[in-house]
């Protein structure tokens, strides 16, 4: 029920506060009334036809980088114990 997916904005209709988003090739019109300052190319979190929040690409990248670091630590552990 609370599932929501990230989708990229490909077109904007500012007067009706709607955006067209692309979700793996499927296009959908969603309401952007809940989110300020939406631009083409932004990733939005979509739920029941509404954008709930913008996705921060910077934060996504830093979370993924955290996984990379873990990997390093884990390898070091393994080398230390072998």
């Amino acid at each position: 029920m609370c599932l929501a997916v990230p989708a990229i904005v490909i077109a904007l209709n500012e007067s009706s506060e709607m955006a067209t988003v692309d979700l793996s090739g499927i296009q959908k019109d969603v309401s952007t009334v809940l989110v300020d300052d939406v631009n083409i190319g932004d990733y939005l979190l979509i739920h029941v036809g509404f954008a709930l929040h913008k996705l921060s690409e910077k934060e996504a990248i830093s979370t993924l980088a955290l996984f990379e670091e873990l990997e390093v630590m884990n390898n070091q552990d393994e080398q230390a114990s072998s």
């Binding site: 029920m1 609370c2 599932l3 929501a4 009334v33 029941v48 036809g49 929040h53 993924l64 552990d77």
Partner: protein, 382 residues
């Protein structure tokens, strides 16, 4: 899908599992409650429990909106269709939930009731515009994630003077339910050591809404995304807090959750809704200030007022363990009816209806599982 697939990488999952195995202390248990049904679903679908050391266990929480909606509210909705001949618009999740006397919205529809499944509140408004001579009611359920779209619909209905549209409001709030679970003691306590906090509820209310878990109940909480790597990383963050004795609110899901949440959505909810003095939750019982009702300035669009909807006391199937399962006290396999009388095709309780319900998750992903499991293997190689 960008920003989804990267968070499902099987190699990283295996590495995270090794780090977790390295860091858990063998002389203690880690009972972690995932509050949301979305997390329960992810944990089963991706076989995450099987990647955990034996002393790390997930306890399933009440965060499944379909599961906590009491039967009486579904009876109310069926009465709207049968007695008032309204067009009832509902999210698809609700139509199979058992109501009193083996009824459901789906059966009411088969009996000729005009019940329409909608994807969005925008669809419900459109149905009202197209049917000016019929009363159209939107059956609103859900936690804070789903509430702002309902608030928008009420505003639009007021602006357009759409007088044949109304909302049957059943929106509930996450923090009071969490508080309720943490307050229980003795044999009612779920005995949890830490909480995996909601993903998309938190995009709206923000991570600081959970500060009370740490300050009042000394329980660490990590806001977690719904993808498998998010769940595992958050589990690791909880284990680290517990090992070091730190108790705080942390946020793993920083790509969409901020400290303060979505202020615009909060302001909108505030304008349209107010706290309901008391509301019944399936499993958790009557809880004060745990749900929302429509403010007087929108009373004209409030189905409860328009159709004088009365409280119907719900009585659940006696041997259904949903109430205890929703409190984290029992597992689905403890229920006598699980998998025999009660299956997703013929659900006895709400926990079997919603794909986010614990019983449905056990049935779909766990029931045929052998100890080191086919499901996890498949997901890892997928």
């Amino acid at each position: 899908m960008k920003y989804v697939n990267e968070f499902r990488n099987g190699d990283v999952a295996a590495k995270l599992a090794r780090v977790i195995a390295n860091e858990v202390e063998s002389d203690r248990d880690y009972r972690l409650m995932e509050f949301c049904g979305g997390h329960t679903h992810a944990i089963f679908r991706f076989g995450i429990q099987d990647l955990m050391p034996e002393n790390v266990n997930f306890v399933h929480g009440p965060g499944c909106p379909v599961c906590v909606l009491p039967k009486g509210r579904i009876d109310n909705a069926i009465k709207l269709v049968q007695d008032h001949n309204v067009i009832l618009c509902t999210y698809a999740d609700l139509v199979r939930v058992p109501a009193t006397k083996q009824m459901s919205l789906l059966k009411a529809k088969a009996d000729g009731g005009d019940i329409r499944m909608v994807y969005s509140t925008q669809d419900a408004l459109q149905i009202a515009r197209q049917n000016p001579n019929r009363q159209v009611v939107f059956f609103a359920i859900g936690f804070e994630t789903t509430t702002p779209p309902t608030a928008v619909a009420l505003q639009v209905a007021q602006q357009e003077g759409l007088n044949n549209f109304s909302v049957f409001c059943n929106h509930v709030l996450t923090p009071p339910a969490m508080r309720h679970i943490l307050q229980q003691d003795g044999d009612q306590s779920a005995n949890i050591d830490g909480i995996l906090g909601p993903s998309h509820v938190s995009t709206i209310i923000g991570s600081q809404a959970y500060a009370f878990c740490a300050t009042e109940f000394h329980t660490p909480i990590v806001i977690a995304g719904f993808e498998p790597l998010d769940v595992m990383q958050s589990t690791l963050m909880l284990i680290r807090q517990l090992n070091s004795g730190r108790v705080t609110v942390e946020n793993e899901y920083t790509r969409v959750v901020t400290d303060e949440g979505n202020r615009k959505a909060q302001a909108l909810m505030q304008e349209v809704f107010e706290l309901r003095p008391i509301f019944e939750w399936r499993g958790l019982g009557m809880m004060p200030n745990s749900a929302l009702q429509i403010r007087d300035i929108y009373a004209e669009w409030d189905a409860e007022q328009r159709f004088a909807i009365e409280h119907i006391t719900s009585s659940d199937v006696k041997s259904c363990l949903c109430p205890a399962i929703l409190r984290g006290l029992n597992k689905p396999t403890d229920c006598k009816l699980f998998g025999t009388v009660c299956t997703p095709e013929n659900p006895m309780g709400a926990c079997m209806v919603s794909s986010e319900g614990s019983c449905a998750a056990y049935w779909s992903y766990g029931r045929f599982r052998q100890p080191d499991t086919a499901t996890a293997q498949q997901e890892r190689t997928a």
